[in-house]
Symmetry: D2
Subunit: 345 residues, 4 copies
């Protein structure tokens, strides 16, 4: 059994980790850590756990974690994660960090897009980027995994075969992403009030969203030959709780048929994995699961390929992916504890 | 392993049964039967199963089912279930029927409220009413279980301690129930269009809904001393996919304190079961799970008790309850395969 | 032209008043007053007014209002309204107050249910209760009108004919009300976040909601013979922006047919008014309008009448009703500026 | 007074026309025509009109319309409109056609994208394209106006200044559009059921939607110099009733600052019109109104301009625009009857 602690349990990624890990056959949960709610009962904050658990939340205590845990999931805001992750690393723990703090080798990119300083740059090179489908071999050996962002997960999975095969103009990529509110986190804000969100849609952070840099960085550095990929990324807020749909537009630089495209995607993403090529992608078919559905359409009239990519932002885009990373790094069945099908209808 | 077939797989209760049974450690699914879609791939109808299964839907074939299955779940419209259940019973199969066809011992009640004839009245007495929390002992021995309706489940669980203890005026019960659209089934209708449902609420079938009779029948016949319970039941349609909230109003005929009420409910529904007394009931805390949350408030000013009862209509109100019945009748852990916590946020 | 000021413009009732009054042919809006946002442009807070108006919000200034306005709408939180209304009254202005501060003649009832002291009890008797359909004659003469609460509007309109005619047991009334989020006001709170509200339903303030007392007070004092009416009132929160649906249950104390009931309601509420008897009430058919739809069903089996009453909580339940009061008190066409039909689909 | 008939009253555009025209001070509505529901009362189909009108729907009768009406709005499915419009034209009526049948001068484009034959090609040249903001002068003289599609309205208004000024690469335009369900019309379909739409998002008709051709055609033919504009257009279905948000991506072919862009858009769209440049576009700020909000962002890093354009698809995208066309062609105030502000909150 892997002894696991979760730091940052009361955020949406943290509580989703707990929901999923509770059922994982190889995991024993030892501590749920929350600075804000230390001492409180979990079921007072999240009543869906009423009756199920009298577990109390604890204050962060490095020694206690070090002695009792094998693996720590950190689900903290960016910035806050930097120091805690470094401490956990130094006492020899295995770490899966869900923040944006360790997703780049290059502190400059981080500092430019996140607009804060990175004080633990020595640790950047120790982290392995945890998008299993494109980095599985490195993750197998990893002690410290940096879990991808939600938008980058949907976007990179959709683009990966096209980029790897050199089929598209690397300056032509436009990503129009739509997300549900859980992606905005649990913070109480005017713009997250029901009245502001329901029956509406809006774009935000046009041309400035941090995940732009993660998509560019990963596509540029991790594909076969290093490339210089630039994307336009525009996130939108939808009146749904969960789910990301990314609509990705790319200009082809070679001719390819729809059949060949389908073949290519099926080759990269075999049926027994979490990523499936489908005829009609819709977020309802993946919400509640760790699956990613891709719909790939050749538009020969405009010489473009349009890829629609959907995930559950809290599962494949956060907690589920973190568990998939754990499974791979512990050499377990990659799907262990992640076999849920979307909750539809 | 229990070899299971599901008849009526493409309805919402059927597909939810399949989703849940796929993960049940003691179940092997042998046939998925659909008259309408026989021969089709499941994933063409419900794309959330893409990649997961190439299972095809089959036509109903009694001999094949009889030879290959131990237990059959029938998730058919009322009326249609009558004959098929009788046939399955006659060849010696175990049956859990999710329709309304076998919920009364008394064909007259059925015929009055369902407005169709019952042609298999001999089988009415063979069925055991499958609301585990009030009928567990009988279910342990049962070969043929009639699964309760969704509204009756929420309503009866909320009322049971009050009725059993004789605390309330049995003519005073008013149940104002609210349900999501999945309760209306998969049929395509004007009134189920998004435009008609979204941002609105309405009552329907005032004073005439079939479940009125099920609630009255079960509360009258199954509680300690037979009673003559009459309820006003009004269902409402909410713009949500899943979830029932029943607001139950009753006139007390004895004095009782809020503390005593709480004690009483905790006694009837221990913490390790699926029914929990909570401070604030909300459907979000049970949707995606087999749990029922009850909020019980004494209003001493009006000498009434108000009980709020919430369930997921497709799980505790249908498929989950059916599996709970299977677990009890096979002497398995009652919660096996049903440990999911609500999908919240 | 009536020169109008609105105090408390940035709340939901305030902004709805402004939206509706802008189009009223007999109104000239002179000041929009907001303590919180004084000095700001309205369109910075409510961008739907972009381009339409460069109107700035002002600080409350009694002298300025007194000299420039004929009529003031106060859309302030209860408690806050007490003093300002008294001041406006003393300088001779006409007032329509949307708060709960002046809805009772009896300070005790107010203090008991609102749990704050009333410091301006002398003014209680000066206010006329502004539910036009039951108090039109008094409103015609009124200089100071207290606008009803949203839940009381829906509930009282539904019950009025039954109470006036003495058809029901006055202790048997149960009101199960459902409201959209705009009823909760613009304050930013955890429980009003989209994630908490969407796809869920909950009851709140069971047996303690302030509007209980307003419903009881008005039904008891304003109907033909004074009565002692007690109601159980339970509000619920729905995932919709606007709309109240009240399901009202009453025990008949006389026999009456469905036809007679219909006749009665049509007599009380003629076709050319804002209240209509309909076959199927649903909030979608009134949201965006000042109409109230009533669905009245006799349940002879239980000797009860069930009334379903729907309104737009911000219009007939607040701003629209206030304008209707203005129209009546200025002897204008009662429907002036209020002819909008529900925005459906 | 303009005597108006509406053909196709029970569709969503038809009923919205009626709702808006009822309040228009210069309009007298003479006939509401519906083939499907002829003889029925309007309020039986749309209960929001209960009490308001006993108007009955009529069968189409050319002679009756010709003698009693000045202007006819046709709100019929494409294909069906061809013949009826030609007949109305031949008897000398003024026509505003909301279908796609007369939006191109060129039957070939129509036949290619709509996949049906055009049998009344002689009438194509008689129609004036009714997007007032780009074609006002022609509309002033027009007897027969072809009202634009909903997606083209949002898209063309967003792109117009960039195209007219020659600022962008005419082959680089990508339009990612999101629409609410009312855009799909009143037809009852599996994919429009609440369960299928709620809490989900999907793309549809990728690279094949008819409106692609309308956007290309109008931008190519109507701007200063004829151009050859090709766009990638992808519509998405959102869980909202009303509202379109189009996210438009274009590659600049000249340097321009954000300030200059703002200036340009303000010049094309003055404050007193229906199109406004705003800081944050969101569909909630225009739904219920005839306004279009544009948010324009320069992304100098990628040398792109991103334009977010929002409208109410049934008002500015259909019925409201049709009335605006009527106002212009009758030389009335362009905003007459269209002054509603968005229904928010």
């Amino acid at each position: 059994m892997i002894r696991v602690s979760i730091i940052g349990i009361t955020g949406y990624a943290g509580i989703e980790l707990y929901r999923l890990l509770k059922r994982h056959p190889e995991v024993e949960i030892v501590s749920l850590i929350s600075h804000t709610n230390a001492g409180e009962k979990l079921s007072d904050i999240y009543p869906q756990f009423s009756g199920n658990t009298q577990v109390k939340l604890e204050e962060y205590d490095l020694d206690k974690i070090a002695s009792g845990s094998d693996l720590v999931f950190t689900a903290l805001p960016h910035g806050v994660s930097q120091k805690i992750v470094a401490e956990l690393y130094d006492v020899g723990l295995r770490i899966i960090d869900l923040s944006g703090d360790y997703r780049y080798k290059d502190a400059e990119v981080y500092e430019k897009w996140y607009k804060i300083k990175h004080n633990y740059t020595d640790y950047l090179n120790k982290a392995v980027y945890g998008l299993v489908e494109i980095n599985r071999e490195k993750i197998r050996e990893a002690r410290f995994i940096s879990n991808p962002g939600c938008y980058p997960t949907a976007s990179i999975l959709g683009l990966w075969p096209l980029v790897e095969e050199g089929l598209i103009n690397t300056k032509s990529i436009i990503i129009d992403a739509k997300s549900g509110l859980s992606g905005a986190g649990r913070g109480v804000r005017q713009l997250s009030q029901f009245i502001e969100v329901d029956e509406s849609v809006m774009a935000y952070a046009i041309a400035t969203h941090r995940h732009t840099s993660e998509i560019e960085y990963v596509l540029s550095k991790y594909s076969g030959k290093e490339k210089d990929i630039i994307v336009s990324f525009t996130p939108h807020l939808l009146p749904v709780k969960r789910g990301i749909l990314s609509s990705i537009y790319t200009n082809l630089n070679k001719n390819i048929s729809q059949d060949k495209l389908n073949e290519l995607y099926r080759e990269y993403y075999p049926d027994d994995g979490f990523v499936h090529l489908v005829d009609q992608a819709a977020s309802k078919y993946v919400v509640g699961s760790n699956y990613c559905h891709l719909e790939v359409k050749l538009d020969s009239r405009t010489a473009r390929v349009v890829v629609i990519s959907v995930i559950d932002n809290l599962i494949k885009g956060a907690a589920g992916q973190a568990i998939q990373n754990m499974n791979v790094s512990y050499n377990l069945d990659e799907k262990m504890g992640l076999k849920d099908i979307a909750l539809f209808p």
